[in-house]
Symmetry: D3
Subunit: 136 residues, 6 copies
């Protein structure tokens, strides 16, 4: 009786794509306008998927209020209205592509959830570009 439950949240952040091991020309060539040294930004839409058994007492896989609060405390407060490159530990050395942001969010939430739950992160950078991690 495994069911997947999903919870959506969003945060607004600035970022810049950049590989410090490359020179400017290479960064410009690979990342184009996403390499703008003054940053640009997005409304990130986050979809958290948790798979588990239905608890027969509650009818819940996980209490959505608990899941919502975990996302708020560990993801939204960390990244909302922040400059990912400058204001966060996680992306000081790591390029904040959508792929890498999804992996980081996965790891932050993974340690908050009971290991019996399966966790998947979907992150929309724009309505037309989005990513998912892990791939089962």
């Amino acid at each position: 009786m495994k069911v997947a439950v999903y919870r959506k949240a969003h945060f607004n952040a600035a970022h810049r794509l950049h590989n410090p091991e490359w020179d400017e020309a290479m960064n410009e060539k690979v990342f184009g306008k996403c390499n703008n040294p003054n940053f640009h930004g997005h409304n990130y839409e986050l979809e958290v998927k948790v798979v588990g058994e239905i608890d027969p007492q509650t009818g819940y896989v996980i209490d959505m209020k608990v899941l919502k609060d975990l996302i708020e405390e560990h993801i939204i407060q960390r990244f909302d209205h922040k400059n990912l490159n400058l204001d966060t530990e996680e992306f000081r050395q790591l390029n904040p592509t959508a792929e890498n942001i999804a992996v980081v969010i996965y790891r932050l939430l993974r340690e908050q959830l009971d290991s019996t739950f399966q966790l998947t992160i979907k992150l929309y950078e724009t309505e037309r570009n989005f990513v998912e991690f892990p791939v089962h």
Copy 2:
């Protein structure tokens, strides 16, 4: 040549989360405002996924009009504009959480579909909370 086809539908219903084996304080603590004895309600958005082989004669996995009519007859007419707790057999004893509603819809449609089809139910309680059953 397996393809998945999806059909969306929706219904509006009232419900209340409640475990009759618990006292009021426990119900209030676990279910919060969802335990309101006078009920609240939702626009449930339903996404039915059917996986099967393409029929080379029609180019269809299943005729969408047939699938639409099955959903209308067995799900929408049963739950639309109803109080799930009071007006339906299915939730007289079963807590109408999104998880349980998805499982019930799965069972109702599963018996209408040829066993060669794989079936999955996704149910949106709000734009931000949704569930899926079964998990393959």
Copy 3:
């Protein structure tokens, strides 16, 4: 330099359409399945529009956090997860059609806003049915 600013919010409620001056047959005829005595429900999507001058100090017509908090305090806390007919003063005597709910929300917010602002309420009962008040 008048600008319109919009803020969206939502609430989930149960309701029933009913005119107590009519007999059951007449109520059934006019309101159909919306007359279900056990109620049904909706995810109401609310769009609040405020028109005013841009304040040259802030660049704001009105601080969105202030507007968000007014909506939360005076509308969402009053109606969210409630049965409109049974749990609220406003609809004890008034039929909770989308039209009437929009008028009630308008009046509740109108007294919270400075009279120099123009106010309009748009209320989505479903994605396909919605109303607006007042009409300027």
Copy 4:
């Protein structure tokens, strides 16, 4: 470290469902109004999913600009503002159901992508009808 990346695109096309081996009555019976000899049309919404490893140099699975350009060149320019039955090689003999269009798009993109990538196509014919291929 496999991540899925998604890119959306759209195209507008006319089509008609028809099996040339059947007589008119049979076509009319099976395909209904979709069999209209003068065609009808859709805004097709296309979601391309590519699964692969994150490149540690770029933080990308695949450069979204590259993926966007592949979709533009091989799918959009081929099908946008076209009559699928009359203007395209692919559907001269093949019934342009959503299922078949998804399979065709899959094959066209499959040969453009490195074989280390896993590819999935999701195609929305309307907001309520959509398909996915292949099913993993």
Copy 5:
């Protein structure tokens, strides 16, 4: 106490933009790929707005079921799964641009509605292109 009520509906149709008084080169220059002689198509999303007084007996401006049925009978059955240029009287001589389709829908619904109602038509040709008529 005037309130606006909105009802959404949709239809799928093929069309072609063409001015028979111009030669092919001129048509191609002005209408580009929309001039394809074999047609292309859209999922047209229609939003009908009706302004009137709330009836104190019902709490309705107009019964949404009545409005839904008028749209179904006079618009959807006329245009859904049709080729606007070939299958409809209205666009045999009139170029089926979004602007002209909106005007035609306005006139068809205007004669079905009591003259005390104000009527406005909004028509989405794609998510990014839409029109409204009349402008009050």
Copy 6:
């Protein structure tokens, strides 16, 4: 025979709300987390509305390709993937609130359009916060 036509576009930008005439405490108090000195960002969704007469030759109010190109050249290329405060002339002295951005976009497009057209700008900063200018 006036018709309104709408065209949507989007751009991604970083910004920071700040009044240089105030001290840090005052800026922090008024703008909160939007005052982050390292910036944050948004996916701005832009809706351009143009009102005019239908040209009987084309059936158009304005050629959507022309309107799309004007928006691309004068708005998207100027603001997309930019830091509004640092990279643009328009917001070097002007606080880039949604209200002010809408006014700036209006002025930039107003000078590109024939004066017989009426122009309105709607700008979505998030799905829940948006503004419109001018108010007619």
